[in-house]
């Protein structure tokens, strides 16, 4: 089975792997990436979130040496080596899996080993991780899309990379394929590897990422821990036949920041501080307000994301 991935000690936790400084890419009059600045620290799992065409892939293309930046700069591993040397310590898959169709999986991986300058010893290990070991002698072109994507992940793991970059890894896969890929990513993340995951699928990011960078039209909207994306304490969903009493009660309550009434009659009370549902329930009852519906929720990343991209 796979050798354990290099674990991140606390003393390494602040090591910066990738630094973007005002990175910009223009295609003619279109600015695909606009002065993007953020850092990737070792040991975290990052998500780059953005709708389709927001510049995620272009950003990754620039740091991966296939797209030339229009201005700005980026720096791998503190700038101690040039980009293509640094990329030998990176594992990356982009959009679709790209391999030589008439080569077997094994030969394709051997080629990657030659490029990265590592020996063949990990080939069997990584094929095992992605469950392709039985098919390693088969031509790449005979693989299904899900298998191709898994092979791409295997290839990215060959050099026991410092960081794994995944661009839309589940794009175009069937539910089973999506599940397999997510399980693999979770497993790798649990081993302490630094991961940068670009996706427009929010639940995908929510499930594995600790940090998130949100971009829209090439502009950074947010960068930081997922929890702080919208620094709220959650909200209550309330329904009652005594709607007016409920509203005036909420107006005076110190833990409630504000409330919105939705079309369905549902009242959404946003918390200003941590507060338990049972206390609110009791207070309402004491005031003679009978609740027919009470749920305490935190906004999903999706709601936060939509709010963030709408506000701009």
């Amino acid at each position: 089975m796979a050798r354990a991935f290099r674990l991140t000690g606390n003393h390494l936790a602040l090591k910066t792997i990738l630094k973007l400084k005002e990175l910009t890419k223009k295609f003619g009059s279109l600015t695909a990436v606009d002065a993007l600045t953020f850092n990737i620290q070792k040991g975290n799992v990052y998500g780059i979130l953005g709708p389709n065409g927001s510049g995620k892939s272009t950003t990754l293309g620039m740091v991966l040496n296939v797209v030339n930046p229009s201005s700005g700069s980026f720096e791998w591993f503190g700038g101690e080596m040039n980009t293509h040397e640094a990329l030998k310590k990176v594992g990356a898959i982009i959009e679709s899996p790209n391999f030589y169709p008439s080569m077997s999986a094994e030969d394709n991986l051997k080629l990657v080993c030659k490029i990265k300058g590592v020996d063949y010893s990990r080939i069997d290990d990584v094929l095992e991780i992605v469950n392709l070991h039985d098919r390693k002698k088969d031509h790449f072109k005979s693989y299904s899309l899900g298998m191709k994507q898994r092979l791409a992940i295997a290839s990215a793991l060959l050099n026991d990379p410092e960081i794994l970059i995944l661009d839309e890894p589940t794009n175009g896969l069937d539910p089973q394929g999506i599940h397999q890929i997510r399980e693999i990513i979770k497993k790798i993340a649990a081993d302490g590897m630094t991961i940068l995951l670009a996706s427009h699928l929010l639940d995908e990011v929510e499930k594995v990422c600790s940090h998130v960078v949100v971009i829209r039209k090439g502009v950074k909207l947010y960068a930081g821990p997922v929890d702080e994306l919208n620094a709220t304490h959650g909200f209550f969903e309330l329904k009652s036949e005594h709607k007016d009493e409920l509203k005036s009660f909420l107006d005076t309550h110190s833990a409630i920041e504000r409330y919105d009434e939705e079309d369905s009659g549902l009242i959404k009370a946003i918390l200003a501080q941590p507060y338990e549902a049972k206390f609110l329930n009791k207070e309402c009852f004491d005031k003679g307000i009978l609740l027919t519906h009470l749920v305490k929720r935190k906004e999903t990343l999706e709601e936060q994301f939509l709010k963030l991209t709408k506000n701009q």
Partner: protein, 274 residues
């Protein structure tokens, strides 16, 4: 350098089309040489090409180098497709992401080109040597190994031609376009040649620097040098004052073209977003 060559070799070894075409090339190569040694019976006359003096040292170096050069088209297809398939399979992108620099990518392709040129040249040398040893009327050591500059010229001709194919492959990204472009260039140079010959003879220096023309100038046709043709010509009182030597200037021009093609491939790739 070894790493880059091994990368390219690994790609070629696992590419069936490249393998088959290369195999056909090297088989044809040997077969053509053998063909010349077969005896033909035209009724009562026995005719054997080998007896016409074409396999005499040192003439054989010149003759074979000229004669088998057209086979390079086979390898041109291999080279163009090994470049363009990197675009269509998007493996070029993946190579770069895996940590190959754009310069290393071009260099690895160039080493592939050198590999093909060296292998062809070696084969030419061995086949010619064997044929010569069998059929040549002269077999003194000093004669056998004279005029070897034709072998070197052949090598450079292949390097130049393959570098051009490499460049077209990088430029146009599709093998069909690249080969079509090669064909267009050939026609274009033909038109320029005709124009200069009949309209502007003072510009004939241009002919020496055109890429395809300069490559073909490396090895001048050997037929009029053949004893039988020569004696026929003398009987017809026409004078032969043609030089059959490999010219230094031509060597330099082809070398310069090879450099230009490889360097432009690199610069082109550097400028491109993939």
């Amino acid at each position: 350098m070894k790493r880059l060559f091994l990368i390219e070799f690994h790609k070629l070894r696992n590419n069936r089309a490249a393998k088959i075409l290369s195999l056909i090339y090297f088989i044809l190569f040997s077969a053509i040489a053998l063909f010349a040694s077969i005896k033909f019976n035209f009724g009562s006359i026995d005719f054997r090409l080998a007896d016409q003096g074409i396999f005499n040292f040192p003439f054989i170096w010149h003759f074979n180098a000229y004669f088998v050069a057209f086979l390079k088209l086979f390898l041109a297809v291999v080279i163009v497709s090994m470049v363009s398939s990197e675009y269509t399979n998007r493996t070029l992108k993946q190579n770069l992401i895996d940590g190959l620099s754009k310069k290393e990518f071009i260099l690895s392709k160039f080493y592939g080109v050198l590999g093909f040129a060296i292998a062809s040249t070696l084969l030419l040398f061995i086949v010619s040597l064997v044929l010569g040893l069998i059929f040549s009327d002269y077999d003194e050591f000093s004669i056998i190994f004279s005029d070897l500059e034709y072998i070197f010229a052949y090598f450079l001709k292949l390097v130049g031609f393959f570098s051009m194919c490499l460049f077209f492959g990088i430029l146009l990204k599709r093998s069909a376009f690249a080969l079509g472009f090669l064909f267009l260039l050939w026609i274009f140079e033909g038109i320029v040649q005709l124009f200069i010959k009949f309209q502007a003879e003072s510009l004939d220096f241009i002919l020496n620097v055109l890429p395809l023309q300069s490559m073909s100038n490396l090895i001048i046709e050997p037929f009029t040098r053949l004893g039988i043709v020569k004696s026929a010509a003398t009987q017809l009182n026409s004078e032969f004052t043609k030089s059959y030597d490999v010219e230094w200037s031509t060597l330099l021009i082809v070398l310069a073209w090879s450099f230009i093609f490889i360097y432009s491939s690199w610069k082109l790739l550097q400028k491109r977003d993939l």
